[in-house]
Symmetry: C2
Subunit: 313 residues, 2 copies
């Protein structure tokens, strides 16, 4: 197609990476759960394709999805406007800009309240500016949202992501850890939705090969950062109070995702949103109790960490 842009080598590498990461993550989660994900490949004419992998009411996971999408198209002026705040150098007067995007996103909600929800997203974006110049960047991260807090789990998850960051740039983890704490804030509750992780956007400060290597390292860090936690937590005994607390925290998760998450909000504002795909991140069940107060110490411990982010690694 003449309208397609000549994607940089990094774009192709990213496409291969996310497809491989998706299959490995799905296989890893299936091995823990015992139930297969439902897999669905979709295409968008000649504009791209993606694979949706969904599990619902599994043995271990109440609900979860691992999605990839590799798309090309033209950003409308409206979309270009929205981009401005996010990335420097994009032509402000452009009516339309051709783009390529490849990304993987995942949200996993386990059934057991001792086991944490987790989220991951890595994406590469490329566009042709009006002067013909390529603009590209990476974004993404991974974060953990326990209801019952186990400090060992928090430290393990952060440590592995810090190690991945440190292998590429010692400034990355401190910056991206702080960015996650700021981004995942539920503003009206003045607390974060979970215990964070790493988050970054508009990343283009190094050679694309180097940043791709960094993103690749982070993406392959997910399974070793999460599976050992699940092995410890998936069959733990829990009380009714733990389950109730989990449902309350899933209510908060819902509030964050529909009110503050940039991807959800922009996705739903689009002319013909794929609502099911966008809201796949919401939990199977959530509760809102008037004047709810956690009574157990292990629940109060989480609130301490969501109100005052901790240096876990």
């Amino acid at each position: 197609m003449s309208c397609r842009i000549q994607v940089e080598p990094t774009g192709k590498l990213m496409e291969e990476l996310i497809l491989d990461v998706q299959q490995k993550i799905v296989a890893g989660l299936e091995a823990i759960d015992g139930q297969k994900f439902y897999q669905d490949r979709w295409t968008k004419g000649e504009g791209g394709y993606g694979i949706s992998c969904v599990i619902q009411e599994g043995n271990v996971f109440e609900k979860g999805g691992v999605n990839t999408s590799i798309v090309q198209g033209v950003l409308s002026q409206d979309a270009v406007q929205r981009m401005r705040a996010n990335h420097e150098g994009i032509d402000r007067s452009a009516k339309e800009l051709p783009f390529f995007a490849a990304g993987i996103s995942m949200v996993i909600h386990p059934s057991n309240p001792m086991a944490p929800t987790t989220h991951l997203n890595y994406r590469y974006f490329e566009l042709v500016n009006s002067d013909g110049r390529k603009i590209w960047w990476f974004g993404g991260g991974a974060d953990l949202t326990p209801s019952v807090l186990f400090e060992d789990d928090a430290r393990h998850f952060h440590k592995l992501h810090k190690d991945a960051c440190d292998r590429h740039d010692p400034t990355f983890y401190p910056r991206f850890k702080k960015w996650a704490d700021d981004y995942f804030l539920i503003k009206h509750r003045k607390e974060t939705r979970g215990i964070g992780g790493i988050f970054f956007d508009d990343l283009s400060e190094k050679d694309p090969k180097d940043l791709f290597a960094f993103v690749k390292d982070c993406a392959y860090t997910f399974l070793p950062s999460y599976i050992p936690i699940m092995e410890k937590r998936k069959d733990m005994e829990f009380t009714e109070a733990d389950k109730e607390f989990q449902l309350i925290r899933r209510g908060y998760y819902t509030e964050f995702n529909v009110m503050y998450d940039r991807g959800t909000w922009f996705g739903l504002q689009a002319p013909n949103p794929r609502v099911e795909s966008i809201l796949m991140t919401l939990p199977l069940h959530a509760s809102w109790r008037y004047n709810y107060e956690p009574k157990e110490e292990r629940h109060k411990a989480l609130l301490e960490a969501t109100h005052n982010p901790v240096e876990w690694a």
Copy 2:
């Protein structure tokens, strides 16, 4: 207090009305439920007071609240900015405007999926413009959100509200019914959250006495519009599929309230929001299922009505 405004007689009448309506509604709902509401009177220094009445895990009502607030204060420039779009004639350059507001708001979620959720809100607003001129208006309405649709219930609820409107102005019901259908739209799903009712705002087109009489008539219409429905539905048998469908619809209710409801959004954006009071409208339980499709005809019937608003009266 010298900073308090000289409230118009309508303000005092509205204060008496909403307190009386609140006690009558609470008594009516308690008679159906058998469990008492928890009642809590709060004061805001000399700036006002209110009464919160809450029921949770009652015999009939899973969660519900009936709240009044009568407050005076000064609208900041930011708040004045937000008002502009809503009401004509407010001084655009004013830094601060003294105001008085009296309102009642209610959301009731029954347990039985055959019984509809309902919402009511009536409010009177008064402010002193920078030229010393008083600006005032009424707003409010009532609407019904069934999960299983009984056409008799929809017709009964609308008919009584139409009768109340018609006693004051024949143009009111058609205008305010349409306004409810537009207002309660869940934009990303392209459907309304329920089967509507009436909704109006910035209403000041008649003598305040006449509009107060109209609002009073509407407010006293609530119990006869809802109690007979509850008597028929509260003990009906239902299936697991009905309960599941109810939880899905409560997810949609949550989406509307936190994403689109003006009161919720502005309330939560305020510097120190009373989050528990604002989010008291959310259901005790809600579910999100991937690619959920209702299988029962009585569930599909609701979707037909939420996608294509019906003239019920």
